[in-house]
Structures are given as C-alpha cells and as structure tokens.
Amino acid sequence: MPTKQTFAEVFQSRGLSRRDFLKFCSLTSVSLGLAPSLVPKVVHAMETKPRTPVIWLHGLECTCCTESFIRSSHPIVGDMVMNMISLDYDDTLSAAAGHQLEEVRKKIMKEYNGQYILAVEGNVPTKDDGVYCMVGGDSFLNVLKETAAGAAAVIAWGACASFGCVQNADPNPTGAQPIDKIIKDKPIVKVPGCPPIAEVMTGVITHVHTFGKLPELDRMGRPKAFYSTRIHDKCYRRAFYDAGMFVRGFDEESTRKGWCLYKMGCKGPTTYNSCSKIQWNEGTSFPIGSGHPCIGCSEPGFWDKGPFYTRLADVSFLGTDTTADKIGMVAVGAAAAGAAAHAAVTAVKKKQHDKEQEQ
C-alpha cells in the first residue's frame, strides 16, 4: 500500500540510495527555507512520517477555495487527503469540533514544528482587534500569527489570502488584509483566483510532494507554472482580437460566433491565470468560453476596477465618478480654452500698450 510507505521507503523501492534520500531531505529543507540545523529533523520526519501535515485555516472568506479544491480531477481530492498530505486541520472537512479540533492544531504545531505547511484561505481583518473574524474565542489575527510561527511554508489560497479580494474592496470595512501583510518571515506561495482553478490548487501541493521543493515563483509570488502568462495570451478568441472583431453586446450574431470580448470589458489582457489553458472543472469551459468577459479575478484589487463591463475603470475624481478619458479630455479642453483666453488678454494688453506708446 502506498499509504504505508514513508518517503524513505519510496526511495528504497525505486532503487535509490540512502545518500539520495538524505540529499533529497536537505534540498527539501533548503527550498522550504529551513535552517540547516533542522535538516536532521526533516530526515527523521521523512523516515517516519509519510505525509506532510497541512493546517488549513479560514479567515474572512467564502470557502469557495475549499470548494474549488474538492473539484480537482487530477489528482482527485480523495487521493490527495488519503495518500499525499495529511490534512490535519481544516474547519470545512475535519471531523473534530471545538476544543478537540483546536487540540489537533496545537499538536501538529508542536510535533511538527518547522515541518508543516500552513494553508490559508481568506483575509485577516485587522481593524478593532480583529473582532470581525474570531475562531475558538480568539481573533483570527492571533490564530494566524500563532500557527504561522512554526510553519515550514505558507500557501495563500485565492484572491483573498494572496491579494485581498471582495472584503478588502473599497471601503474595506473590516481592515481586511492579505496574509503577506501579517506573515513576514515565511516563504509564501500565492495562488490567486476567486477561486483558483482546482487543478492549480492540487498542482501546487503535488509539486511540493513530487519534486520535493516549492514551485518557482514569479515577481508577484505566484507559481510560474500557472501564472506566468495572461489569459489573453492563450485565449482561443485571440484571433478575433487581432482581427479587431469585437463583440459589442451579449446575444448578438458576433457573440454566437465567439468574437473577442475586449470591448465588453474583458480583463484577459491584464490577468495572469491558467483559465484559457487548463480551463475549469476538468477542462469543461472557462468564463470567456461561456461568453462572459474575464473580470480579472486572480489580479490584485480587481474588485475596484469596475464597472466590469467597461475596459477602463471609473475613478473617483474630485468627488465624482468619471473615466480616465473624460479627465483627459477635460484637461485638453481646458488647455485649449486657457490658451484662447490667454491670447485674448494678450491682444487686449498689447492694444493698451500700443495706445500708451502712441500717446
């Protein structure tokens, strides 16, 4: 049974030496950002404990990242939680409740200090002592800090934990913050999306499990494997974009023919995600594939870039809502009007001056 095998046993059964195994362990520690003194601990863990413990916390969120996670088709989540990781704490799926559940978290934090992965779904409310999200009688803010302290690495699930998402949209009534604003001293893998694609989520975990290290991250802290190109760059409607064939309203001839949704406000050109490649729900479709413009749900601050059905957001300007182009046009108009007025005054002054000179 694979479930019974420790990592050490897996290595043995594949004909790899103990040296290979030790090398793997130290590489793992390095890529997890652990101090070299912790390597023997990792070796011990790998020899005795087959599956990486995962603590999955929920803050201000909608649980849709969890829902997406359980939609994964390869691997399926049953295999994931039975064979690959040990999802020891997750309020959505755990059997234990109340203090028995908190006990599990404390136990993992102690026994696997420096070895467990902390997965976070949701934002951290920072206003008013964190009373906008409380777990087990304490603020989520405290729980998160406490649990992060001994984590080997942190996974930030979804737009919430990565960048902020809906509760952090203007005016952000709870002071909701993404987790990198709170956790500063751990490697954080951001997996944005509202929610992220299921196979991207399980892909991130299995990457660590299979290759023994964290996936390479881009400048924004996202795994390159899933976030290095924009929706637009692999969109099947791209030919229509290049041709300038744009949908101008829903349910028109052009819509049925699958023209480009750029003019409907599609944020594909500015959105890094795998939707146009992996697609959603085992490759069934993706937003653009079903006729709706991308709203940019894996991008920082996308909620405040509305209205969604326009290319450029409304901005607040001197107390009014307007667009960048209106501001620009007003400025240019003002410049022209100003020049004309200035010319008029110049002419008047000059006439006066000439008159004075004549006298």
């Binding site: 019974k4 849709c64 959505t92 059997a95 906008y132 929610p195 079903s290 709706h292 909620w303």
Partner: protein, 557 residues
C-alpha cells in the same frame, strides 16, 4: 447551577459559528446561543457600485452555495429596472440553481453531516462480505462487491495505521451515541469517497453556462452564454449532450446511493427525534415556469406554516414593508433611528458596532449583543427556512410528487409525518428535496431543448443594459430558494448606482440570535431539550446544528 459549554469552532460547515449552551444537571440543554463570529461588510461594499456588477460581489458571499447570491442579485436588479429575461435565460438559471441544490445537498450529507452519524473507525471492524450483502439489498448501485469493500477497508486500515488521521483526527470515534453497525459504517465511508469524487461532475452544468464553478458568471438581463446549434463557440449539441449525461448520472447517484444510504442510516436512529425546534416554516418558492411574480408557476411553492399546522399555508410577501423585518437588539450593529425597532430590508442599514469582549475570551455576554448576524423575523415571529420548510409547504399544499417521495421515505422508515419535525426529519427532507430537484433538472433540460428546436436562441434582453435607460430612482427585490432556504436581496438604485443593498440569507433566519422579544431562532430553539451523553464530546449539538447545513459566511455576509 447550570453548566455552560462552548463549541467553537464548529467544523464541517461554511464559515465561523459558535454555540454556547447551558445544560441542567441531567446534561439536557436548557438554553442555546448561536453566534456568527465573522463579518465582511459586503452590503457596505456594494454601495455606490454599478448595479450590473452587484451579482459578482454578492456571489462571493458564499462559495458553498455559490450561484444563489448571484441569481438573487440579478433578479433584484432586473426587478428594479423592469427587465423581462428571455425564456432560455430563465430555464438556464433554473437549471443552474437546481444543479447547485443537488450538489450542495450531496456534499452536505456525505461530507458535512455524515460523520455525526457514521463512526469511521468502527468501519475497520466490518465484515466486507456482510457489507456487500447489505449494500446489494438496499440498492442496485454496482460498486458493492465484496472485493470492493475489502479493498476499501484495507486502504482505511493503512490510513489509520499510518498514525496520521488527517481530517479524521480527534473525532468522537467510539462515542456511545453512534449506533450504526460496522458494515453500514463501511458502506458510508465508501460512499463518502464516491460522493467526493462525483459531486465535482454535477457542477459542470454550471461551467457550461457560467464558465466556471465555483462562482459562475451571470449578467443582468439574461445569460452571457450564447445559444446556436450551428456554431462551434455557442451552446450546441455537444454541450447539451454533456449536460444530459450529467443529469442522468446525478439522478442515478441520488436514487441509488444517497436515498438508500439516508434510509439505511436513519433507520438506526429512529428514536433520536430531538431537534424539532420552532415549528414555524417559510419558503419564498422558486423555479419559475413563467416569471418570478407569477407565484402559481413556481415549482417549489411559497408560503408559511405556523406551529406545525400543515392544514393552513399562509401567504408571504417579502415586498410588504410590514412582514419581514431585521432586528439588531442582540447583534453587533446599530440602527440610526433606534436599534430597538426592526427594519424592512428596503429601509434597512448595516452599521457594525462590536460590543462583545475583546478577544481572546471565554464566554460571550449572551444577555446583550452576541452575534454578527442580524435577526430577521416574519411579523415578529421566528421561522425556519430550508429543505424541511420547502418539503412541508409543498406537502401541505398537496404537491403530488413530494407527497409520493415523502410517503416512500417515511414508509421505508416506518414512521409517521410527525417524525419530520426533528433533526433527522430535516436531514431526510434534504434528501427528499434533492431527489425532487434532480427530477426538475431533466424537466428544465427538456424545456431548453424544445425551445432551441423551435428556433428560439435568445438568452439576453439588452433593452435596459445602458444605464441611461434607467429611471433616476428605483427599488427591486430578488429571491431564490437556496439550498439552505429562502434568500432575498433588496436593492435601491439611485443615479445609476447602488444606493442601498440588503441581503437576508437562509442561515440568517436559522442561526439568528434572539430577537427583541427574547425569542430564539431556529438553531437555538432546536438545541433546547437535547440530552447530551457526554458534554465534553458534544456530538448531539453537532448533529442538530449540522442538520440545518449552517453557512455563516452567508448568514452574516
């Protein structure tokens, strides 16, 4: 002196729920207090935005009942702006809502609720041959051979022996309130895993029409997915075939796995009839066959039942400013014109005002404000919403299909209809409704195909798309029957922007704190009178609370 116990966090729900309960010396619950411990302020965030964007914000209230807030939202905006959506859009939305309901109920039963009744560890002792025999006796489901259960049991043994129990760590295994024989436990574990795998298929229907799940896309005025049987980029026969296949499989899974399991498990708990609660039930109705204001066309009927009286179904009108009101006397909010009066959502407001103890704390002050949920009441009365309410109202109204399914389930369990007023009744009602709704899915599919066949491809009404066509000021109401019950969105639009947006959610009705008259909501009422075998392992509280399928992100939003 009464002992107080706290269950927090409550797992296997959506969001953050806390229960404080007072027990008497015989360990029977005397008072219970239900607390939502998170608030995000979506109603506040929606203000000032484009009403056409509202669905996306509202949808993020919850990823478990994803879709339903988007649906209620587009419906309330369309109501405000006077938009009639095309028939295809109505049918597609019905199909998506039905998809949500079946998937959500399946996940609830197996992954959120089953472990309150099923002892996973006991399954290790099961005899696979006997498990196979039982499975085959209750259902024609093909995955029921001896070998199948043997393999599974071996996997389970390996899993338990690894010493890492993962999500099963520290559960109440061996608790005396567990009554199932090891073989039934083993079958349930098998179906736990199968359902986990299958639920992800059902939602593909939403992906076809809405582009993804969770959080599929909607538009005000219809649906964005174009229909054209002669286009390779619109809904064509390939897409329809996929939907048809999923509907068929869903119906089979519910008939051959969910319902037999429900009956088998419930059969061992027939005497555990606690958790009835309020006895008041409400449903707005849903699945319109014409439009939302034609109540006779709703496949799930609307109405109110009071005091378990199935002989009378009272009308409910969520637009009537005197019927539905939200109170904040025990919630962490204030109202500018006095926090002691309830407000109808069209004049509602959301102003947070935390007055509880500074965390960390041991107990909340449950005599004062103690929850992030408001307290919705119908004519000042608490009502329960959800599958049980819907089933009872349809039953009381004499819906023949519901009568038949209810009769079948009650008959197999050999209990009378009064057994429905209980924790188990609530759980059974969810299964009954799931079967009914899966049936509707086939009906909606047929309607869609018939329309397309007749040459009707229309999915969107563009008349009121441009904000310049809107009235300067208007208000609207949108509703749906979400998996957990009646959901309403009330909107006020002014100068092309959202002026006020109020959401009253099923779980707000059920999980609300006490009202201004001191009356409990459904959770609190249902917990009263429940005896606890071992208060340090409050399995009974989990059972009853879970039977409502709590969603706290929804409830407080």
């Amino acid at each position: 002196m009464a002992k107080k116990i706290v269950v927090d966090p409550i797992p296997r729900i959506e969001g953050h729920l806390r229960i404080e309960a007072k027990m008497n010396d015989a360990n029977v619950i005397e008072e219970a207090y239900s607390t939502g411990t998170m608030w995000r302020g979506i109603e506040v965030i929606l203000k000032g935005r484009d009403p056409r964007d509202a669905w996306a914000f509202a949808e993020r209230i919850c990823g478990v009942c994803t879709t339903v807030h988007a649906l209620a939202s587009v419906r309330c905006v369309e109501d405000a702006l006077g938009i009639e959506i095309p028939a295809n859009a109505r049918i597609i939305r019905n199909l998506m809502a039905a998809t949500q309901q079946t998937q959500d109920h399946l996940v609830h039963f197996y992954h959120l609720h089953a472990l309150d009744w099923v002892d996973v560890v006991s399954a290790l002792k099961a005899d696979p041959a006997q498990a196979s025999a039982i499975a085959q006796s209750i259902s024609p489901w093909p995955k029921s051979s001896v070998g199948y259960f043997k393999d599974l049991q071996q996997r389970l043994v390996a899993f338990v022996e690894s010493g890492q129990l993962g999500i099963f760590s520290n559960g109440y295994w061996g608790h005396p309130a567990y009554k199932l024989p090891p073989e039934v436990n083993l079958i349930a574990v098998a179906h736990y895993l199968e359902a986990l795998d299958f639920q992800k298929e059902i939602v593909k229907i939403q992906t076809v029409f809405g582009g993804k799940n969770p959080h599929p896309n909607y538009v005000v005025g219809g649906m964005a997915c174009a229909i054209d049987p002669n286009s390779d980029t619109a809904i064509n026969i390939e897409r329809l075939n996929m939907i048809k296949k999923i509907i068929d499989e869903t119906q089979t899974f519910i008939d051959q796995v969910y319902i037999p399991d429900l009956i088998a498990i419930a059969g061992f708990y027939k005497e555990w009839l606690y958790g009835g609660g309020l006895g008041n039930f409400m449903s707005y109705g849903d699945f319109p066959e014409t439009n939302l204001n034609d109540f006779k066309s709703l496949l799930w009927p609307r109405g109110i039942i009071l005091n378990k009286d199935l002989s009378t179904v009272i009308d409910v009108d969520p637009r009537d400013m005197s019927q539905i009101k939200e109170e904040v006397g025990h919630s962490w909010y204030t109202y500018s014109k006095g926090s002691d009066k309830g407000l109808h959502p069209w004049e509602g407001e959301t102003k947070p005002n935390y007055t509880g103890p500074k965390p960390p704390f041991e107990f909340l002050d449950t005599d004062k404000q103690y929850s992030w949920l408001k307290t919705p009441r119908w004519k000042e009365q608490p009502v329960e919403v959800g599958p049980l309410a819907r089933v009872l109202i349809a039953y009381a109204k004499g819906d023949p299909m519901i009568k038949e399914t209810v009769g079948m389930v009650l008959g197999k369990l050999q209990v009378g209809p009064e057994a429905l007023f209980s924790t188990l009744g609530r759980t059974a009602a969810r299964g009954i409704e799931c079967k009914q709704t899966a049936g509707f899915m086939g009906h909606f599919y047929d309607q869609l195909v018939a329309n397309i066949k007749a040459g009707d491809y229309k999915t969107f009404n563009s008349e009121r798309w441009e904000p310049s066509t809107w009235p300067k000021e208007c208000k609207g109401f949108g509703y749906t029957e979400a998996p957990r019950g009646s959901l309403g969105h009330w909107i006020r639009i002014k100068d092309e922007k959202i002026d006020e947006y109020q959401i009253v959610v099923p779980s707000t009705w059920n999980a609300s704190p006490r009202d201004n008259r001191g009356n409990s909501g459904a959770y609190e009422a249902a917990l009263k009178g429940t005896p606890m075998v071992d208060p340090s392992k409050p399995l009974e509280i989990l059972r009853t609370v879970h039977s409502f399928d709590p969603c706290l992100a929804c409830a407080s939003h």
